[in-house]
């Protein structure tokens, strides 16, 4: 475990190996695909962007460093003019609009989620996953997004926060959905996490001993 830990940490910062590079590229692409038309409508036809769901999953599945890096890659591609955000938005302009801070918040959000969900290199469990989704997927994104929105629009922080309350119910639904997806993936496709966890049997043996 310490070896794989050191490897993934090292590769994310210093030198990205081919496998990590592919996973970073895939998660940037997943968030882009989730913003494409043909998306979803829930709760009586209200269209929602499921892109933040992709942000939550990136941090939870490929970990803090690679997850944050995949968001940097996505935003870099948006900045150079690819229409990858929900509704076909893209270009440098989105970084000067009211929602610019939330986009930068995706980087911090994916990182915080990865830190909490993969805490100490341990297997994702329900309470840690949902905590990560709430702190990283909602709180961290708003912590960056609200001040920037307030700064860009010139509306005081308090009023900006009141306006943003509209989006909280949708965010809570996405956090719960992301948690369910991660917990399903741990059981259905543990390969996704590229980590080896101690099995339940050996944990029991240790507790006996």
């Amino acid at each position: 475990m310490p070896i794989s830990e050191a490897r993934s940490h090292n590769s994310a910062i210093r030198r990205l190996d081919a496998t990590s590079l592919a996973r970073v590229a895939i998660f940037a692409a997943i968030v882009a695909v989730l913003g494409m038309p043909g998306g979803f409508s829930v709760a009586g036809g209200v269209p929602i962007t499921v892109q933040t769901l992709g942000v939550m999953l990136a941090g939870a599945i490929i970990g803090p460093w690679l997850g944050a890096l995949s968001m940097v890659v996505l935003l870099a591609l948006v900045a150079i003019g690819l229409p990858l955000l929900a509704g076909g938005r893209g270009g440098l302009g989105v970084f000067f609009g009211p929602s610019a801070g939330y986009l930068f918040g995706w980087i911090l959000g994916a990182f915080v989620i990865g830190l909490i969900v993969h805490f100490g290199g341990r297997k994702p469990v329900l309470w840690r996953t949902i905590l990560g989704m709430l702190l990283g997927g909602i709180l961290a994104i708003y912590a960056v997004g609200l001040p920037v929105q307030s700064m860009i629009t010139g509306l005081p922080l308090g009023e900006t926060a009141i306006l943003s309350l509209v989006f909280i119910p949708g965010d809570l639904i996405k956090a719960v959905t992301a948690t369910i997806i991660v917990m399903t993936l741990v059981r259905a496709y543990p390969r996704a996490f590229r980590r080896v966890w101690a099995s339940r049997n050996t944990q029991n043996l240790e507790s006996v001993r």
Partner: protein, 203 residues
């Protein structure tokens, strides 16, 4: 893949991508820093108009048509920003702030309109080269961006396949039942992509 680029032969189109990026960023930042007063409204609006008129986007009314298209795409942002600001902080700052934000956004759009993605990728690679001393591998950054660009349409097709398969079995269009199979398909593609890169000498 679809980009925001519009072919053209004006001076902005022919300008090298790196300096163009810096020029547009400087103009956009200057507009963003205008104060929230009535005087800022004509200034911001004029800079945006002039930007589109002098950029040489095309013959006749083409530039103004393009500006109109950009503004139409921003109609929701314009509406929400304007209304919320009028309610909370009054008429003058509301109009000034909204004009300033919208002018900055449409000016920034000039970069994507006039520059090919490949030219900007090259500019990024060149621009990051000085940071190699700090341990940043600019070629690897360029590879990562290029691989991601080519992966997006592939994953888009995979997503459509997963949706079609579910529709054929009569399943409803529901995020939760779509995302798990899509994620597994995407992660398997990531493994194949990693192997393919390794086979081509990327370590």
């Amino acid at each position: 893949m679809l980009t925001l680029y519009k072919p053209g032969t004006g001076w902005l189109h022919r300008m090298p991508a790196g300096p163009k990026l810096l020029l547009i960023l400087a103009v956009v930042l200057a507009v963003s820093l205008l104060p929230a007063r009535w005087t800022s409204v004509p200034v911001a609006a004029c800079v945006a108009f002039l930007g589109y008129l002098v950029a040489g986007l095309g013959p006749g009314m083409m530039p103004l048509h393009e500006l109109g298209r950009q503004l139409y795409a921003l109609r929701w942002i314009i509406g929400i920003t304007l209304v919320s600001q009028v309610i909370f902080i009054g008429f003058e700052p509301a109009v000034a702030n909204t004009t300033r934000v919208i002018a900055a956004i449409v000016l920034a759009a000039l970069l994507a309109l006039s520059t090919r993605v490949t030219a900007l990728l090259d500019a990024i690679e060149r621009g990051l080269r000085p940071f190699e001393r700090l341990g940043l591998d600019s070629q690897r950054v360029a590879l990562l961006l290029t691989v991601t660009i080519s992966t997006i349409p592939v994953l888009g097709r995979r997503a459509a396949e997963v949706r079609d398969a579910q529709r054929a079995r009569g399943a409803r269009n529901n995020p939760r039942t779509f995302i798990i199979p899509f994620l597994i398909v995407a992660l398997k593609h990531a493994d194949e992509l990693g192997d393919a890169l390794t086979a081509r000498g990327v370590r």
